[in-house]
C-alpha cells in the first residue's frame, strides 16, 4: 500500500504545524488566570510593553467589534476573558513578540489584579441550593427534537444543557418488573495530550484571512472565523495541516480565531503554539456521574432503563452539548433490547478546565456505567454475565427504537469472539478475575454530508481532495485503495491532497469515525464519476470501433481497440493535456422520524474481555490479558484497523488504571504537568494483548465498511472493572480503579442459582 507520508514520518522529515513558518512571522504567548473564579480588576501591561521585542498585546477589550464567543450549539467562551475568569488557566492576555522566548518572558511580566469570587469546583457544589452562578442567568430555552427527544438550554442554575429521550412506556415496564436495580457510577476525567499540541499560524489580510493549523475541523473553523470577524466565508482560507494526534483535542475551533485577531493587531503573521501544560488547561474529557435504574423480568430479560448521565462540563460549553446528547441518546441504553427507555443527560458547569470532545463522545462514560451494572445485575440474579448479555443484545436488523438505524453488527458474534479468546468457559486461575463488556456508540454523525473530488491526470495518476484530516489514521491508504480499485490504476499513483478550504470540497469535520464509511463513500462516488466521464470520453473519441467501452487495469477497451489512459487523453485533448474531474457525495439525510434529526450512519460496537490479577493484600490490580474486538464492517486496511483498535484500547486501559486529572478543593488543576499526570507507557501494556477485527459486512461504506476510530475505547475500562469485580467480589463503581476500593470496597451481593 502506498505509504508516502509514512516514509516521511519514519525519516523524521514529515512537516507538522510547528514546522510551518511565514516570513516576518511573530510569536504569541498567553497569560492565564491563577484563580478559578474571579473578576478582572486591572491589567498592567507596562512591564510587558517595555520590552522592545513586543509588537502587540491583546486583552478582552480588543474583542470589541467582534462576535467574540465560541462554542458548539451554545457559544459562551470568549477568545480572551471578558471581565471575569471562570477557571484557573483561562487565557486573559495575549502577547505578540518577535520570537517565542520574548513572548513567553513578556507574558510572565504581565500583572493582573483580581477580585476573587467563590469557586465552584465540583458538580455537587454547582448544584447546591446556594451555589454561585458561573453565568448570569438567562431564561431557559426549550428545544423539541424528533420523536421522544427534547432539550433545554440553561434549565437551572449552572446546568448548561439538559437532554431527554424517551421511548416506550417506562412506567408500565417498571410496574411489571421482577427486579429493579439502581446504581450510581463515577467516571474520571482525562486529558487528551497528543504528543503534538495545538498550533496555528494566522495572517490577517485586511478583507481576507488565511490560517494554517492542526485543527481537524477546517470548514467549521472557516465558518466560525467568518462569523467572529464579519467576513464572508469565501474570504477566509484555512489549511488543515497533518496533526500529531488529536483524540478530540483538536476538534472544533480553539485558538485560531485569537491567533487571527493577534495578526490583525500586530499587522503581521502570528504563530500561537501551545505547550503540553497549556493543552491540559485548554480542554479535557467529561467526568461523569451516571445513575441507572434498570428493570429486569424475573427470568432475566431486560425491560426498561432510566438513566441519568451527568457530565462535568467545566467552565465553558465547547462541544459539551453534542457530547451530552450523543452519549445520552445513543450510548446510555447500551447495545440491548428494551421495552422502554428514558435517558436524561445534563451538563453541569464548574469552575474547572472546559470539557469537550474526547474520543468516544460520552460513550465511554455511558458504557462504563452500563456495562458495570449489567454485570452486577447478572451476578445478583445468578446469571453468567456473557449469557445474560447475549439474551438481551440487539440482533442484526433490529432497531433499538422507532426511527433509528437498525443494528448493523452481529453483537453476539463479537461478544463470543472475545469471551472465547479469554477462555471464558473455564474458570479463571486463583487470584484472577475475568470480565467482558460490550460498548456502544453511533458512527457517521448527524445529518452528515461529505464531499470529495477526484482529479485524474493524463498519465493515469490521481489526486483525491477530501476534508478528512490527517491524524495518521491511514486515510491516504484508504483513499488510494478505493480510487485504485474503481479506476484500475495502481495505488502508488493516488495521492490525498492537503486540505485547503479554497480547494478541498466541504466536509463537516473529522469526527464520529466517519473516515472509511462516509468519506470513503464520497471518495468512491467521486472516483466512479471520473470513471463514467472516462468511459464517455472514450465513447466519444474512439470511433473506429463500436460497442461498449470497458476500463480494465488502466486500459480502455472498445471492440478490438485498446488505448492507455495517456493515449486517450492525447487523442481527446491534444498533447497539451487536461484532466478529468469527478465529484462525489455521501449523505446522512435529515429524517423527521429520527429522534435526533437523522439516523446514525452506522453503529460502532466494541467488545472487550480482560483477565486481571489482584493482589489480595494490597488491592493492586494488574491486567494480565486483554482482548478487544471491533466490527469494521469491511476492513479496507487491516493493519490500520488494528492500529486504531490498539490505540483506543490503551486509552480505555489508561482510563481504568493510570490517567486522571486531579483538581484541588478550589477547582485548580493540581497535576497539570507531564510528570504530575501519569500516562501509560509500554510497561503498562498487558503481557497478552490481542485485537480482533471483525468484518460483519453491514456498514454503509464500500463493501459494507464502517468507520473505526472510537470503538475500542468504549468497552475496555468496563471490561477491566468487571474483571476486578470478579476477582475481588467487590462492587466497583468508580474510575480510575483504586487499590483501596478493591481492597476495602463494598462487598458484592451475589444470588446463587442457575447461571
Amino acid at each position: 500500500m502506498s505509504a508516502a507520508n509514512d516514509l516521511e514520518r519514519l525519516r523524521g522529515s514529515f512537516a507538522y504545524a510547528i514546522d510551518f513558518a511565514l516570513p516576518g512571522m511573530l510569536h504569541a504567548a498567553l497569560v492565564r488566570s491563577p484563580h478559578p473564579h474571579a473578576e478582572i480588576v486591572a491589567i498592567d501591561l507596562s512591564q510587558a510593553l517595555s520590552d522592545s521585542s513586543v509588537v502587540a498585546v491583546a486583552t478582552g477589550a480588543d474583542l470589541a467589534g467582534l462576535d467574540p464567543l465560541q462554542g458548539v450549539v451554545v457559544r459562551d467562551q470568549p477568545l480572551l476573558a471578558l471581565g471575569k475568569v471562570r477557571y484557573a488557566g483561562e487565557p486573559v492576555v495575549a502577547v505578540v513578540a518577535r520570537d517565542a522566548a520574548s513572548a513567553a518572558r513578556a507574558a510572565a511580566r504581565v500583572a493582573v489584579r483580581w477580585r476573587l469570587l467563590p469557586p465552584v469546583p465540583t458538580m455537587a457544589a454547582a448544584l447546591a441550593a446556594d451555589a454561585p452562578a458561573l453565568f448570569d442567568r438567562e431564561a431557559p430555552e426549550h428545544f423539541p427534537k424528533g420523536p421522544g427527544a427534547e432539550a433545554w438550554r440553561e434549565p437551572a442554575r449552572n446546568i448548561l444543557w439538559r437532554f431527554r429521550f424517551r421511548s416506550g412506556n417506562p412506567d408500565h415496564a417498571f410496574a411489571r418488573a421482577g427486579h429493579v436495580f439502581t446504581d450510581t457510577y463515577r467516571f474520571s476525567r482525562m486529558s487528551h495530550l497528543p504528543i503534538e499540541p495545538l498550533c496555528a499560524v494566522a495572517r490577517w489580510g485586511g478583507a481576507a484571512a488565511e490560517v494554517w493549523c492542526n485543527n481537524q475541523d477546517p470548514f467549521l473553523l472557516r465558518a466560525d472565523l467568518a462569523r467572529i470577524f464579519a467576513l464572508p466565508e469565501a474570504a477566509i482560507r484555512v489549511h488543515a495541516l497533518p496533526a500529531g494526534g488529536g483524540f478530540g483535542a483538536k476538534s472544533y475551533p480553539k485558538h485560531e480565531a485569537l491567533c487571527l485577531l493577534l495578526s490583525r493587531l500586530a499587522r503581521a503573521p502570528v504563530r500561537l503554539a501551545l505547550s503540553w501544560d497549556e493543552m491540559m488547561l485548554t480542554l479535557s474529557q467529561h467526568a461523569a456521574e451516571v445513575t441507572l435504574t434498570t428493570a429486569v423480568s424475573a427470568d432475566g430479560v431486560l425491560l426498561a432503563r432510566r438513566g441519568l448521565l451527568r457530565l462535568d462540563g467545566g467552565a465553558y460549553a465547547d462541544a459539551s452539548v453534542v457530547v451530552c446528547e450523543k452519549g445520552t441518546y445513543r450510548s446510555l441504553p447500551g447495545p440491548y433490547r428494551w421495552h422502554a427507555v428514558e435517558s436524561l443527560g445534563e451538563v453541569v458547569r464548574t469552575t474547572t478546565v472546559p470539557a469537550g470532545s474526547f474520543r468516544g463522545f460520552g460513550g465511554p462514560q455511558a458504557c462504563f456505567a452500563g456495562e458495570r451494572q449489567i454485570d452486577a445485575i447478572a451476578r445478583r440474579l445468578g446469571f453468567d454475565p456473557v449469557a445474560f448479555r447475549k439474551r438481551n443484545l440487539l440482533r442484526p436488523g433490529e432497531a433499538p427504537w422507532a426511527g433509528e438505524t437498525p443494528m448493523d453488527s452481529d453483537l453476539e458474534d463479537g461478544l463470543d469472539a472475545v469471551a472465547e479468546r479469554i477462555g471464558w468457559k473455564a474458570p479463571p486461575p486463583a487470584g484472577k478475575g475475568r470480565g467482558v463488556a460490550v460498548g456502544m456508540k453511533d458512527g457517521g454523525g448527524f445529518s452528515r454530508r461529505s464531499l470529495a473530488v477526484v482529479k485524474l491526470a493524463r498519465d493515469g495518476s490521481a489526486l483525491v481532495l477530501s476534508g478528512i484530516a490527517d491524524l495518521g489514521q491511514g486515510h491516504e491508504r484508504v483513499a488510494a485503495t478505493i480510487v485504485a480499485e474503481v479506476l484500475g490504476i495502481d495505488q502508488s499513483c493516488v495521492r490525498l491532497a492537503p486540505i485547503d478550504t479554497d480547494r478541498t470540497p466541504h466536509d463537516q469535520g473529522t469526527h464520529a469515525s466517519v473516515g472509511a464509511a462516509m468519506v470513503g463513500l464520497a471518495i468512491r462516488r467521486a472516483a466512479e464519476t471520473v470513471r463514467e466521464r472516462l468511459l464517455a470520453l472514450a465513447a466519444d473519441v474512439v470511433d473506429e470501433a463500436s460497442g461498449p467501452v470497458m476500463l480494465e487495469a488502466g486500459t480502455i477497451r472498445r471492440g478490438n481497440v485498446t488505448l492507455s489512459i495517456p493515449a486517450l487523453f492525447d487523442r481527446a485533448f491534444s498533447p497539451q493535456g487536461s484532466e478529468l474531474i469527478g465529484e462525489g457525495e455521501a449523505r446522512n439525510p435529515f429524517d423527521a422520524s429520527a429522534p435526533l434529526g437523522s439516523r446514525c450512519g452506522f453503529w460502532m460496537p466494541s467488545f472487550a474481555a480482560a483477565e486481571v490479577s489482584v493482589d489480595p493484600e494490597t488491592g493492586r490490580l494488574a491486567v494480565e490479558r486483554l482482548v478487544v474486538a471491533t466490527d469494521a464492517g469491511h476492513a479496507l486496511d487491516h493493519a490500520g484497523c488494528r492500529a486504531q483498535t490498539e490505540g483506543g484500547a490503551v486509552q480505555g486501559l489508561a482510563q481504568a488504571l493510570v490517567e486522571a486529572l486531579a483538581f484541588d478543593e478550589d477547582g485548580r488543576l493540581a497535576n497539570g504537568t507531564p510528570l504530575g499526570y501519569r500516562m501509560p507507557s509500554m510497561l503498562d501494556l498487558p503481557p497478552v494483548f490481542e485485537t480482533i477485527t471483525l468484518e460483519h459486512g453491514m456498514g454503509p461504506g464500500p463493501h459494507g465498511a464502517k468507520g473505526l476510530g472510537e470503538h475500542a475505547v468504549l468497552a475496555v475500562a468496563a471490561a477491566i472493572a468487571n474483571a476486578a469485580a470478579d476477582a475481588c467480589g467487590v462492587e466497583i463503581d468508580a474510575l480510575p480503579l483504586s487499590p483501596e476500593a478493591i481492597l476495602f470496597g463494598r462487598a458484592r451481593v451475589d444470588e446463587g442459582g442457575t447461571g
Partner: protein
Amino acid sequence: MDGTLHTTEASGTLTMRSRALIPPLRLLRPRTTEEAVAMLREPGAIAMAGGVEVIAALKSGGPQRTVVVLRGLPGVDRIEVVEDAVRLGALATHEAVVRDALLREAVPGFAETWGSVANVRIRNQGTLAGCLIAAAPHYDAPPALAALDARLICRVGDETVCLPWHAPRGLVLALDLPRGTRFAHDRSLRPWLLVSAAARLDAGRVRWLRLAAAGPFRVGAAEDVAGAEGLDGPALARHAKHLARAWANTLPEPDHLVPASPGPVWRRHAAAVLAARLVARLADA
C-alpha cells in the same frame, strides 16, 4: 447573588513552565572541586551534574543564573569502595550505578532495583545526587537512601564533611552506601506508595533493619526498626509482618494531592504489606 461583606483581592498570573523562560546562564567550568566550591559561593549559583533536574527547574523562569558545570571534574564519577562504604561519585549516572559490578556485590539488591527507575534516557543522564537534591515527591531516591541511611560526602567551604542523605550542604561530591547491606525496594504501587528496606546482618544476625516509604508526604530520616536487632534470618522472616506493621503505623499524613489517592488507612495497610514482603526477602537472601 447574596451580598458579600468582604471581598478578597489578589494579584498574579498563572506561572507557566517553558524552555522559552530559561534565563541567561553564566556557565562556569571548574577544573577541580576546590574551584567548584569557590564558584558556588557566588550568590544564587547552582551546581549542575547531569542537568536533568537543573534544566527542568530553570523552565520555571527567573533571574539570570550562574551554573557551575560539574561534568568533567576529575574523579567525581567514580564508584569505589572506601572503608565500609561504597562511594558513588556525584557524577555517576543512574545507569553507571545500575551496571556497576562492585556495587552489585557490596550492596546486593540496590543496582538491580535501580534499573527500573525512570527510563533509559534519564538514567543515562541523571545522577542520584541530582535527584536527591531535587527530591520530588514521587522519586525513588529518598526512600532508598533513607533505608540505607546513605551519607553524603560534601565539600563545605574548606572542609569535607559527611552528612545525612537528607541534609546536603555545599557541594555534594559523593554518596556513601554502607557496604554489606542488603537492599530491597518495591515500587509497584506508584504513585501512591514506594517502600524501601535495608538490613545489615553480621554473622547471620541483624545489626539493623530500616524501612522507609515515599508517598504524598516528605520522606524523613529512617529510624532503625525496633525489635529487629539480633534476629537471625529465619526469625526475621517470622517477625516480618509484625515489624512492618509497627513501622507502617508511623507513616506521616499526606502533604500534597495525588489524584484518586487512597486514604491513610489503605496506605498504612499497603505499606505494612510491602514492607513485610521486603523484609522477608532480605531475610532469605
